[in-house]
Structures are given as C-alpha cells and as structure tokens.
Symmetry: C2
Subunit: 809 residues, 2 copies
C-alpha cells in the first residue's frame, strides 16, 4: 500500500530521539509549504501527552488561521506523555475500558485511508507531512516499533537529528535503522546548537552518503508566562520561516520537491531504461517491447510488491484522474519471486541477519576454514534438517543449479569409483542419469544434460540417461485422480489410464500403497525397462535423480509418490556392481533428491524423504533456504558418497567451488530463516490449515498432507469448466487449464488476466487495501505460491479473486 | 587484532545514548566482579568532562581501596564535557597547541597494548570492562564514530539501554548499529524506571533475539551536598551490588562469564565439528584431518582475518603461557578470500548497502520487472563501466561460472544463427571454443567443457574446441622476459623461446608491439593453425574465449597481451560465414572476455579492452563486483549478440535464469562498491604506486601498467634463488617457484611456510599489531592479492615478511 501521488508530495517525519524538535521542524515545514502551495496537510497519526502541548498547538492554530489551505489531523490521541503503546493502555485503564488497540494492519490502513482522502480532494500540487511519535523505534499502538509498523506505507522520510550531547550517535543509529527497513531518507534536519555543534559533524558525514542536512537555530527558551511564551515561539517561527521565503526551511522544502520529482521521473523512465540496458532471463524481448510491459518494483513488503502504475494508467480505464490516485499499486507476489520467498519481502529480522554477517565477516575464504554461520547451518541441515538420519556433510554452492552439478559430480564419482573396472573413457563421459520426464535441475549446461532435450536446452545440450514418463496426481471435478502413462496403464488389470483415489491423504500414503497391486505394476514395469536398457549396450546409468512429489519448472507436475518410491527401490536393487558391505552405503545407483523447489516446507514438509519412506544419498536445497534474500545452495551427502573422494591425492578431491562458497551473509540469513520457520510450524494459521485438510494432522507429522489453500476452494476450483486439473500442497496451488500446447500455450495467462488488475474498491471491502496479483505461468499451467508466513486472510482474498476470475462453478 | 584471552574475560560497554548510566553500570559490574575474582580491570580509553565527575570518582576510589585487585585506567582524558573529537580540539586550542589526535589505527593499538599488558600480568581468571564515551556512534578522537573505530578489537559488548522517554527507540537502534558492525552483543542493561517502564518492552523484545536484558533500580537523585551525595551513591552501589552476591548485577556477571566460556568452547570445538559436517570445495579431506589444519575465522576486518589459534598453540612454540596470549591472531587475507575482496572485510558502507536493499526489497522477481539497484548497476556497467563503447545489455546471474555459461550460450547461439545452414545436429552439439591452454572459466560442467581436460574436470568432461599454448610474460632476475612456446619460437628468426623485453610498460604496449616482427609471427602461426583445424573436419569453432592478461585458476599465467590481441584479430577475420553488414556486428567468431578475475581494477584497470586495443562482443564480471560480500555476476553483450535471440518466438529467448537473478542485495552492494572504487582510483596510495612504476602513468589512463606492490621489491624478489619468475599487476603478486610438478607441487606452500606465523614481536615494530599471512598456492605458484584499498603500509609489511622468508637476494 505504498503511497505516491503525483500531485501530493508526502514525507514522514521521524525523530532520532524524543524531544529533538520533530513538531517544531514539522510546523516550520508546514508553514513554509503553506506560503508556497495551495494546500498543505499535517497528519500526526498518534499523539500522546497533554492537549495543551505548546508545539502541537502552534500548528493547530496555524491550520485554524489558514482553514481551507492547511489541514491538521490526528487519528489517535492519548493524554499520557509516554510511548503510544503504554499511553493507549493507561488511557483504557483510566476509562475503566478493556485495552483495545488497532493492529498494525488496521493502523496502517487508517493512515492510508486518510492520505488517500486528502489526495482525492486535491485540485493542485500539495505537500503533506506525517509526523511520527517519539524516536524511530518507539512502539506504536500495537507495540510494534514505528519503523516497522509504518513500513508498508513506504513514505520518504525526513529524519530529525538530535542536536544535543550524544546526538551524533542517536542521529546516525536512527538513520541506520531506517536504512535497515529500506526507507528513502531524503533529508536530515537538526538544530544548530552552538555548543555541541553536532551539525558540523553530521553535514559532511551525510554529504558522503548523498544526504541533505538542513539546520536552523534552536527555539528560544521556554518562558513561564504562557502568553509571552506563545509570542516568543511565534516570533521564532517567523524568523526561521520568513516571509522572504529565504533560508534553510525553504531550501529544504525545495529539496523535498526535487526528491519527489526525481523519484517520479526515475519511476517513469525505468521501463524505457530497462528495455534499453537489461537482458532478462527467460524472456523473449521480441514479445516484451512496450514500457507498460515492464513491472517497476519500487519496493516490496510482506507478500506484496509495490509497483509503479504510471505507464499502464489509461485515462479511460482509471475512474478518477491520475493525479489523485496513488502512482503505486500493490501486487501479490504470486510466484513468491520465482519460488524464493519464505517469510515475505523486506523481513527486518533477515535484513538484520544479513547486516550482522556482513559486519562481522564480509565474505571469508572457505576451503580449510570455518566460521560460525556456515558451521551452524551445516550442522542444522545435516543433523536436524533434511539430512537428518542419513547425511553427514554439507557442501555449499551458489544456487540450485550449481548445487545440482555438485550432486551430479558426487554421484558420478561414487559410481565410477565402485564400478571403475568396467568403465572405459567413453562410457565414463556418458554415464547416464535415471530420471523422470519433465525433470528440471537448473540452467547450467551440466544440470541440463541430466534432463531430456526440451525447449530450455542450448546448442551443447547432450541428454545423458533415461527418463520415465511418470504417473501424476491431480484433482479433477472435486475428485483425486492418478493418471497413468499408457505404457504403465497397459500393465494394469483394468488397462485404464485413470485411477480415482479415495482421498489426497490416501494417495500420499506411500507405506499403505506399497501393498497395492499398482505398486507391483510399477515395480515390474520399471525393472523390465531398466533391464532392457542394460541390454541395449548404452552407457550405464550412474545415478537416479528425482524431484520428490513435484517437478516444478517442468510444468508443476505432481508425480505419484508411489512411483517415485518404487523407482528408488528398484534403482537401489538394480546393481551390476559390487554390492556394498554394509547398509549405510549407497547401493545400486546413488539417489539424488533435488529438493530445491519442494524442500524446506514449500510443500508443507521439511523434506519429502519421510513421506516417500526412504532417504536419498545426496540431496539439494536452495531458494527458500535463504528466506528470499540472497542466493545460497547446499548439497548434502551421506558418508559413503563422501568416501568416494577421500584419499591422499589432492586431485581426487571434489574440485568444484565458487569464490563465494558458504558466504557468511547467506549462511546467517539461512540460519535466521530456519529459526523463524520453526515457530511458523506451530503457528495458528498452520494449525488451522492442517486441520482443514486432515483432522489427524499435526505439526509433528513429517509427512503431513495439507495446504495453506483451503480444501473447499481447491475442490471447487477443480470443477470450473476452463480448468482441467488442480493440485495443492503446502504453499503451492497449481491450476492446469484445458489447452494442450504446453510451454508455448498462453491459456493460463489469458484466462487469469483479470486478477492482475488492482481493484480500487468492491469485493475486498473497506478494511483492506486493494491489490492485483502478479503471477507466472508455465504454458497452460498457472501456479500461485505463498510465503510460509502468508496469512490465511491473504490466502482467502486471493482465492476470492481467482474464483471471481474463473467464473461460477 | 581481535582480543580474546582465556583467563581474561573482556567486555566493552557501549551506551544507547549519553547519560544512560554507562559509568554506573560499569562501576557496579566492576564491584561485583571484584567480589568474585582476584583481578578486575576497568579501562576508559577516552574520558571527557570535568575530573571531579562523581560517577567516575566512585570507580577510582573503589580501585584505590582495592589496590592490587582492581585497576582503573584511562588512556586519553579531556576536560570539556563534549564529544571526544571536539574535546580534543578544544583542549588543544586552550593549551595553544596544534590539534593532534591519534589515528584510528594508533588509537586501537593503544587500547590493544593496554589490554595485552593487563593480560600478561594475570595469574588467575579476571574480568575487564572497557567503557566507551557517549553513544555508540559518538565520534572518537579521530572523528570516526566509536562503533567503527573500536571494530578491529572486536570485543563482546554490553549495551547500556536508555530507560527514559524515547529510550526504547535509542536502545533498539543502537543495538542495530552494533549488529551492522557484526558485534557480539552479550547483554543489555538498563535502569528499571517505573514511569516509562522501557524494560517491560525491551525484555521480551530482546529475549526473542536471544539477548539477556538486566535491569536495576535507578540511582537516587543527586544531592546538593557533596558528602551526602557521595554517601547516598555508595549506599546505592551497596544495594545493587550486595555482599550477599545476589541480584541482577551478579546474575549479569555470571551470564557474561557463561558467554565468554561458550565463545571459547565454540571456537575450540569448531575445527572438530567442521571436520565432521563440512565438505569443503577443492580440499582433499584425506589430507586435512587434524583440528589444527582448520582455520577458525572468528571475524574479519579490513584485510585481516581474526583466527582462533587455540589448536595450534604448542607450549614449546609459544613463549608465554597460553592464558596470557590472545587466543585470536591476525592473518592477512592473502588471497583476498578467493579473489573476492575489493574494499576489505566488514566494510560498514557495504554492510549498510546490503541492509538497505534487504529492507527495501528482499529479493524480487526479475524477468519482465525492474528495480533501481539492478537498473543502476546495469547502466553503470554497460554505459560507464567495462561495457563502455560496445555493450548494450547486462545479463545477471549468480557467479562467474554461471555468467560464463550464459556467455557461452550467447556465443553458440549467435554463431549458430548466422551459420545455421551448414550445421547439422551433431556439429551444433559440438561447436568448439577457441582458447588458450591454462584457461579456466568456472566449475560448472559447461564452463569446464570450454577448457581442456585437466585435474579439475569431472567424469562428464568433454573438452570442445582448440587451445593455443600461449607466450607468457614474467620477471626473472630483475628483467622482463617473454617466453614463447617452442612451436611459436620455431617461427621466429632467432628461434629462441626467450625474448627479453625492454620494460614492463613496453611489453604491455600492444599498439606499438603490433608493428614488431613478433606480431607477424603470431599472426601467421595462429592463421595457419586455424586453417589446419578447419581442414581437419572437426566441428567448427564457434567462439573465442580469453581471460585477458592473466589466466588465474590455470596457474596465474601472465599471457603475452600481443598474442591475445592477434588471436582476437585473427578470430574476427577468420570467417567462413556470411560477413556481417556493418561494423558493429561481431565478425568471424564472437569474442568473449572472461574478466571475472582480471576485471574491475584487480589488475589496476577497469577492463583489459583498452590495453588490448579491442572490445569483446561478450564479457563477464563477478567476484570483486560485489565488494566481497555476496555472489553476483554479470554477462555484458553487444547488440549484435542480443539480436540473435530476438524474435517473436518465446522458445528462441535465452532460456537461462536463476531464481535470485539480479537480487537487490547484490546489485546494491555492487553499486556501492563501484561508487567507492571511483574514489580509490584517485587516492594518494594509488597515485604513489602508479608513479613508482611509471612516472607518466595517471588515473585517467585506462591501460596503465602498475601495481600496489613496489617495483624494487618485485624485481628484488625475482632474483631470489628459489624463485623462477615473478609478476605483478594491480593488486596481484605472483611468485613462481623452481619446481615443475604444477598443480600437484607443494613447493610454494613449503617455501612460504614461515610467513603463516604470526610473529609476536620483532621486525614489525611496536606501532603495529603482529600478523600472519594466509595465502593460497596453485602448485608451485604462490600468489598474493590485496583489496583495492589496502594501504601501502600493509603492502610493505607483507613485502618485508616475504623478503625475510625467501632469504637475502
């Protein structure tokens, strides 16, 4: 709900401390603005302390004198001169009422609503100043500190510096806390105290950072006589805001106008400049040539982007004139920014974690070295995370693709060491991967060679291996179906490609289903196919790679977990090699789980091993691992894989590494992410969601089948005429539309067009800010993905938008 | 110079503001410690304000009473009650002296020296409290703010919170500024003010972050009568530090002891735990099995690691007993942490930049979107950076290896589109790369396939292309030599493999050397070889890839730039394809510059294009790009390369992308890095260094040949008997030892062993802290690399260590 209006320049005023002159500076700015503009708004969302507070009164009286031009407002007022969260409580106690304070969401909505109503009444350019209470981190009504609670509004900021002893420190640290929330700090203002002379220090300090520092003389001493004091203060304002329009306050007003214009110009020019200098991944620039096709992300908060809409504003499509509408609109980040978001954008804890590691280490050399963030992360993942019970080591790299290349190198070597005797050089170069059709393990050429040729592959692509066409699971017309490929269907007694499952939890109960005839069909089919391959004289298969449960980039295919379990079992028994001596060793083929997309609770479970009932020998995590902040990936391996590289010969080591391997920033952010995820697992929203899908499902079940998307919604959606199939697990909702053209199809994009729009009013109600939905499609498949901490309320609002767009069932 | 002693637990006391009770809490802690331990040290490095300040006097009197047990010290004292940087100036003015304040370095050295002298006198476990002045960001004597100036000492911290109105805010933002410098905050202490009740808010706030908050009742009001006031204050201390040893202060002392023990235990257990859970890149674990082989990096600052030395402490090798030596030692980061460091570790500006982007965006979706950090970076690189004059677009990815895969995909496609008619499917899959022997473009399998087979390659490696054995440049016995491969030498009139160059600047003057007979020899040789290749029926070569000037991972080979220039010229003329219509189009083969290692001033120049006198069609930057904080890479391309992917067909786009493409944190850090680098280019140190190598060399010359390593040193080193050859450009110094076993050699490691040691005293003088040197070797080659802002003083100290280790010339 970021607010940015062409004709209303808004600044929020934060104080480096309490009693630094916030109200005085704001009053001066209001007066200066009033002498230039036709309209000035002063908003103090929360005010504490006695009503007769002199500073506050001056602005109100000024507004009274300039009625129709200057408007002063306050949304919440409490009389105790303490921090707002305390004042609200004291106030309620005094009145004998129960304490009831607005949530952060509704507080911010109140401010936004007020601002929008001011903007809607404008006929010409105006200024607005929003004055906060106390210091930047003073708690607001809910108890959240101000910098965090105001953050969704993302207003450009004036920081009032502290001119007294210690004020250099509080000014700089307040500035740093503002930066940690990503705020745009347009200027710092402080009194020109001639004794402490903080301004002398702060002006060059901030000039180096490109920040304007304005100073004015301090106010006169407070006089005991109320009338004299009033006159003396008015006189002071007349001095610092002279009728000549000269001096520091006026310079500041001009500077703030310049900042506003520059920001608008920047936003407006960004699409053109982007189209001229950026080469996007996965984008056909020949199809994206218009400025309006470029999403200008001004900031992001929680699950929402704040996107500039200046380019798409068409006079005919926008009811009111552009000048009174916010130039920014909210868009739900429906792909979780390419599957990376865990805790929402701009999470303050993660920003702090990143800062902490950058401040303690920067990046430090990793081979033969260690540091706490990397060690903690490795131990967590190996012993208490997805590696629990089987992995012994963590190998860090930069992204899912590089981590999969590491995994492949591990598996190929392990296989070669054990089967070395029967491999010639050509066979070694062409060792095959056993996998599933639709697999995707990243974009580097080696990772691509582990998959079939497809639209994504480049000139050098050389598919090495064999890929089974897998059975899949989907919900059609409210019923769970398992769809078999024809070759498998032919082996069943019915011969049918369509098997109806009694429920989703049954379909995912691998242990039970292993006892069914279908398991035997799968096993026989896979064994026979592999036997045929062995006899064909092709280079041997050296590793099994699967994306457990869901193949993401390949089209969000929910694979029948029973098939994956059986293929693992068969791959492990299928060995022409020397059998290992003891059970902890890998057998048959090393098994790699590519959990880059599915792992770490994206599907509601930490790892898919418990559901499949087997552990891999190697697994890969990335994306969500670092909470959606910076790239980092990890390849976990069992000891028997590690042993394949162990010798006294340097050249037999795993000679793969990237300069930033195990960079401290990524590791620390990952540790903080995983720490927070532990509490989300126990959250009310997750409990509610789990219960809705399966009453017996608890946070302790490592293989629970549930989703943040509501079961009724998912089932209803699957009955829509345009919809072929729906599936949902954890944070993921997938809608497959009726259109067979695959990756080149535009069905999903076309049918869901309406949800992109931000609806100014209507179904969403007055309480919440309107938003559009930013989503990605894979041909005829659309998917929506939340963060792990997206509220059920937000999920429901998206469900409503989807239901609306796809028509009645 | 991080300080950590087993028997001396040290904490520094920072204040969330001035007048929050720092001295009172510190006095209480000293008293409590004194009632438990045999020795307590109180150090106030800088004191301002009148000598008779009551708080300060209490601690001094207490120390006086407990002489021999409690020692109170102050290093710098000024009488004006203002910020230290001002107090020092006022003091000098009053005395009619010139203002002379210690530099940050010498200030920190004074503190370290004092601490070490205290530690050296210990016979049992003791506590030390170092009290800072004012707020955390109050400027210290030099004007640097305290959090930054104390940072190299990396002392664990007690933050004294602010209990007054606004104190919640100043406490939290001070905490955040401490975290931004990576400090360990062990506890927060504040007064239990019953009116504002900040502790009620702060205890749970910090509990969530795992931080202990201790509170005590505020001191009694100050009494006018000095004697009564003294008694009342003493009585207060007796109350909060009771003889029963109960209460919050004692709990805090115990907590701080626990933190100290835990940190030591952590450091001590880290090698074992690392050996049990980490799989390092490029390390043969079979050769690194001892705890002492693991470098435990506790923190890093500037060019130095702070490394735990508890494991390597051998009673016989350490003169004094371990209990009085710091458990941490400085090691110069001699490989710039695998070539990544630009501005030194833990640079506060870069940590802030990272925090700012994390706070504003987190990571946001990039395809079809844009955000300021990415756009600014793209524009800077394309228009004002290495892409100046030829590139039109920036393609982001995660590391040098992925960026090189992008570059290869670009080149292969560009070649295929133009030469499509004559390529069958097999040829397309095996399009070759033209390159040089010793090339290295990253560890992913595709990037490896662009190089010859070698020790680094994995099972799947399939070298595609042809690699010339290149002539190289080196300094031997004080003279510059060009060494020709025998095949090339045979073509010269002399037939000699050794050509002596008149100077280094001559050797790198490509424009002049193009007119020499050697250029013709190169040209003829390359043309003939390529002609032979074309006639051999091998798949065609489709791209030329070079690492300009230096092949890094391949062995730090300084290639003769004339040879690189000629091969580019020939590759561009060598075309059996349709000739392009206009000159901006690539011709012959697309030319890729892999500048991951050499670019962005690593070698003293932004890009090697100006020196070679030609621009590439595609180039790659990474490592240094992000200032050594997080991974990010960029592939720049010319418009004619971009056009090869442009159509109306989605599948013809460059379908390569990583989830974190153009992540805001990396882009913002890169922008800040490049901003700071601009000022380093004009720095005194760089001017001095440039002048030393070539008097005519200026900061404006894009192809200047110079180094931060001194020419006399480099030449002298090249005359050492164990040294075969030396070379240096920019920040890089390479020493090739007499041993032919290449990557498997241990000559470099063996000969340089002595420089690893941290020499406690001796040649380095008293002014500077001693340090060891952490470096990497590539077989018989050792290299040393500074950051761009490493001081010449530090460079000289490393030169001295190297000279010492390698013996007299």
């Amino acid at each position: 709900m970021s607010l940015l209006f062409k004709n209303l320049r808004i600044h929020q005023v934060f104080g480096a401390n309490t009693d630094v002159g916030k109200t005085i500076f704001t009053t001066a700015l209001v007066r200066a603005s009033a002498s230039i503009q036709d309209a000035v708004f002063y908003l103090k969302p929360v005010s504490t302390g006695p009503m007769q507070d002199a500073d506050d009164e001056h602005i109100k009286q000024f507004a009274g004198k300039h009625r129709g031009k200057v408007q002063a407002s306050c949304l919440f007022r409490y009389s105790d001169p303490v921090s707002p969260h305390l004042a609200a409580r004291l106030d309620a106690q005094r009145k004998g009422q129960e304490v009831s304070v607005p949530s952060d969401q509704s507080f911010v909505n109140s401010v936004a609503k007020h601002v929008q109503s001011c903007a809607s009444r404008l006929s010409s350019y105006a200024h607005m100043y929003v004055e906060t209470a106390g210091g930047i981190h003073s708690p607001t009504l809910s108890g959240t500190t101000q910098v965090d609670s105001y953050r969704p509004l993302f207003l450009p900021t004036i920081l009032i510096g502290d001119s007294k002893l210690g004020g250099i420190s509080s000014t700089i640290s307040s500035y740093e806390s503002l930066l940690l929330r990503g705020y745009i700090v347009d200027c710092i203002m402080l009194f020109r105290d001639e004794y402490y002379r903080n301004w002398e220090y702060l002006i060059p300090y901030f000039a180096e950072k490109g920040i304007h520092v304005a100073t004015v003389d301090p106010p006169p001493p407070r006089l005991d006589d109320v009338r004299h004091n009033w006159a003396s203060t008015e006189n002071y304002y007349d001095t610092i805001v002279p009728s000549s329009r000269d001096g520091s306050i006026f310079d500041t007003v001009t500077h703030l106008d310049t900042c506003h214009t520059r920001r608008l110009d920047d936003l407006h020019s960004m699409p053109r400049r982007t189209l001229e200098s950026i080469w996007w991944p996965f984008v056909q620039h020949g199809l994206v040539k218009e400025e309006k096709d470029v999403a200008v992300i001004d900031s992001a908060s929680g699950d929402f982007f704040s996107i500039y809409k200046g380019h798409s504003m068409q006079p005919e499509s926008i009811p009111s004139s552009p000048s009174t509408d916010s130039m920014l609109e909210l868009q739900f980040d429906g792909s979780a920014s390419w599957w990376t978001q865990t805790l929402g954008h701009s999470n303050a804890s993660l920003a702090l974690a990143a800062a902490k590691a950058a401040g303690r280490y920067g990046h430090v050399m990793f081979p033969r070295a260690t540091h706490l963030p990397a060690l903690h992360l490795a131990e967590r993942l190996v012993h208490h995370g997805p590696g629990k019970g089987w992995a012994t080591r963590a190998y860090f790299s930069d992204d899912g693709s590089t981590a999969m290349e590491v995994a492949i190198k591990m598996a190929l070597r392990a296989y070669s060491v054990r089967n070395g005797g029967r491999l010639d050089s050509a066979m070694r170069k062409n060792l095959g991967i056993l996998g599933l059709k639709g697999s995707y393990h990243g974009d580097t050429i080696g990772a691509m060679d582990a998959c079939e040729e497809g639209v994504y592959t480049c000139e050098w692509h050389d598919a090495k291996g064999y890929w089974f066409d897998p059975p899949s699971i989907g919900i059609r017309n409210g019923e769970v179906h398992i769809t078999l490929p024809s070759a498998v269907a032919a082996e069943t007694t019915s011969g049918s490609e369509d098997i109806q499952a009694q429920s989703l939890s049954w379909a995912y109960n691998v242990a039970e289903r292993l006892k069914t005839p279908l398991a035997d069909v799968y096993r026989t089919f896979i064994r026979r196919t592999l036997q045929r391959l062995r006899e064909s004289g092709q280079p041997p298969l050296a590793a099994l790679i699967i994306e457990p449960l869901v193949m993401g980039a390949g089209g969000m295919i929910f694979v029948d977990p029973l098939f994956q379990r059986v293929i693992i079992d068969v791959a492990r028994e299928d060995s022409t090699a020397d059998r290992p001596n003891h059970s902890a060793e890998w057998s048959g083929l090393p098994v790699i789980f590519d959990e880059v997309f599915v792992g770490l609770y994206r599907l509601g479970m930490e790892s898919c091993g418990p559901l499949l009932g087997v552990n891999p020998d190697i697994s890969v995590n990335a994306k969500i691992l670092t909470g959606g902040v910076v790239p980092l990936a990890v390849t976990l391996a069992s000891d028997s894989i590690f042993q394949a590289f162990l010798s006294e010969n340097k050249t037999e080591a795993l000679l793969h590494g990237h300069s930033y391997t195990a960079h401290a920033v990524g590791c620390e952010v990952a540790n903080e992410t995983l720490r927070i995820v532990e509490s989300i697992k126990q959250s009310d929203d997750w409990n509610v969601a789990r219960q809705a899908w399966d009453a017996s499902c608890t946070s302790e079940d490592p293989a629970a089948i549930w989703s943040l998307w509501e079961p009724e919604f998912v089932h209803r959606l699957s009955t829509q005429p345009s919809v072929k199939e729906v599936m949902s697990l954890g944070t993921v909702l997938v809608i497959k539309f009726e259109d067979g053209r695959g990756y080149t199809s535009d069905a999903a994009e076309r049918l869901l067009l309406p949800i992109k729009d931000c609806i100014p009013r209507g179904a969403d109600g007055a309480q919440n800010q309107p938003f559009g939905i930013h989503f990605r499609t894979l041909g005829n498949v659309a998917y929506f993905m939340t963060s792990l901490n997206t509220s059920l309320e937000t999920v429901r609002r998206i469900q409503d938008r989807l239901s609306e767009a796809l028509g009645p069932s």
